[in-house]
């Protein structure tokens, strides 16, 4: 990985941030600091606002209340941030073509494309599938390819929206392994998950969302051993939070 640009996006700080869409409140009074280091994992029931929070942290949607800052700046171009969307769409190209496209979009010079593409595909374990049309890859392979695409941007912060939701354990492990590798290289990972086991494996910091509000945060071991709030206790115990 290359040297990071001097102006870092971290910490990403939400200050009393809220997002309304029409009459609907998706996020409310979010005050959160996402700092460098181990991965931050968002957990919470469906509709709790995890996806929206990730997108807001990425800078794809503006907050309607409060504010978000990146490294102290109110606006920051997303050159060193990347996001892997919940249902990634494969471009109608080969696997390598998808990665090359992401490299081009990120402004990487053409001369470097071939080497970088090979490296990225190797990182996510798709070496043999360079020329396979991306749409013909399996679910797990597509997810890994989308991850490679996101990493093509050489991000300092990587957002992952439920990256293993529909994958079998083998594919899930592959993704988690990559997360570990890049975290070791200094990339900050912010991901949401449905799988409490995954949260335990990956986190870092755990952030519990419920109905658009931030319920509780904490270091993974502390959080799961001694949750403070009622909702956290119920959620960890496997009850439905309504």
């Amino acid at each position: 990985m290359t040297m990071r640009a001097p102006a870092s996006d971290l910490p990403i700080i939400f200050v009393e941030a809220g997002i309304l869409v029409g009459e609907l409140t998706i996020l409310e009074k979010i005050s959160l600091l996402i700092g460098p280091g181990t991965p931050t994992v968002l957990i919470g029931p469906n509709g709790s606002g995890k996806t929206t929070l990730l997108r807001a942290a990425m800078g794809m949607i503006p907050v309607t209340r409060g504010r978000v800052t990146w490294g102290g700046r109110e606006a920051s171009p997303p050159t060193r941030r990347a996001i892997l969307l919940q249902r990634p769409v494969m471009l109608r190209r080969s696997a390598a073509g998808n990665v090359r496209y992401a490299l081009g979009a990120a402004g990487v010079p053409r001369a470097e494309h071939e080497q970088r593409t090979a490296d990225l595909l190797a990182l996510v374990g798709l070496e043999g599938l360079q020329r396979r049309p991306a749409r013909r890859l399996s679910g797990g392979e597509q997810q890994r390819l989308a991850l490679a695409r996101a990493l093509a941007r050489d991000p300092a912060v990587l957002f992952l929206d439920e990256p293993t939701a529909s994958l079998d354990p083998y594919a899930t492990k592959a993704i988690e392994d990559v997360v570990r590798v890049i975290t070791a290289r200094g990339v900050k990972v912010v991901m949401s998950t449905h799988d409490l086991g995954q949260a335990k494996r990956i986190g870092g910091e755990i952030v519990l969302l419920h109905r658009g509000r931030l319920v509780e945060t904490g270091q993974a071991t502390e959080f799961f051993a001694n949750p403070s709030t009622q909702e956290a206790k119920k959620f960890i115990a496997g009850e439905l939070l309504v």
């Binding site: 990425m58 794809m60 171009p77 997303p78 050159t79 990347a82 996001i83 969307l85 990634p88 769409v89 471009l91 109608r92 190209r93 080969s94 390598a96 073509g97 496209y101 992401a102 979009a105 990120a106 020329r131 049309p133 695409r149 996101a150 941007r153």
Partner: protein, 230 residues
């Protein structure tokens, strides 16, 4: 000998008059598709990707223009290009160029409308990802057009079909001049009016065969392209 056989005979012996007619038909129709694409693809993409007041009306009108009556277009172009018309000084009436102009007008709405639909559908799919990759508007358009290229080729073929089959516009603006503006369709019209129906039918079959051939070549190109898609 009867017309159908004589038409076949002309083909097999490489009759220069027949080949000149076929060559002119292809040049006129393919040129029209080319210019119509240069106009229609960007226009269709633009409408697909921008939001503006009256957009729905524009889309309805564009779709309706796919059904422009060729003979009406021919008449309008004829009056424009006539020496006593606004574009008279260009001296384009009764030339192959006039035929290309008329057919471009006929084909451009088809290509634009089909491009709009194709690009809009693909945009719905790609929107989020392209936003996530922070792709700017110019690159967005090019990506959509490139990734949709096979569907766009189908749109071009639809346009070519329309151009190759029509006679109403080109016979008015071209004048069906022997050796200059006589194409397959206008030749068929002429032979019909001269009563040589078997020859007219024979020419018709040659025309249909050529259209099938063009479509087969496009299909082959598409398959080859898909195999190397990357």
């Amino acid at each position: 000998m009867p017309g159908n056989v004589s038409a076949l005979h002309l083909v097999l012996t490489g009759d220069p008059a027949l080949y000149a007619i076929v060559r002119l038909s292809l040049i006129v129709s393919l040129s029209a598709v080319l210019f119509a694409a240069l106009i229609g693809v960007p226009l269709g993409a633009l409408i697909a990707l921008t939001r503006f007041r009256g957009r729905e009306v524009v889309i309805v009108v564009l779709n309706a223009l796919m059904g422009l009556p060729p003979v009406v277009v021919g008449l309008a172009v004829f009056l424009s290009l006539s020496r006593s018309g606004p574009l008279g000084p260009w001296g384009l009436l009764f030339t192959p160029q006039a035929m290309v102009i008329a057919q471009t007008i006929l084909v451009a709405p088809i290509i634009a409308a089909l491009t709009r639909q194709t690009i809009e559908d693909l945009w719905v799919e790609y929107q989020d990802e392209l936003a996530a990759m922070n792709v700017g508007p110019a690159r967005r358009v090019m990506t959509l057009i490139w990734d949709a290229r096979f569907s766009l080729v189908t749109a071009l073929l639809a346009g070519f079909g329309r151009a190759a089959a029509e006679v109403g516009a080109i016979i008015i603006v071209g004048g069906n001049i022997d050796g200059f503006t006589r194409t397959m369709t206008t030749a068929i019209a002429l032979e019909t009016s001269k009563g040589d129906l078997p020859l007219a039918i024979g020419l018709g079959m040659v025309l249909i065969f050529i259209i099938i051939l063009i479509n087969a070549l496009a299909w082959g190109a598409r398959r080859a392209g898909e195999r190397y898609a990357g």
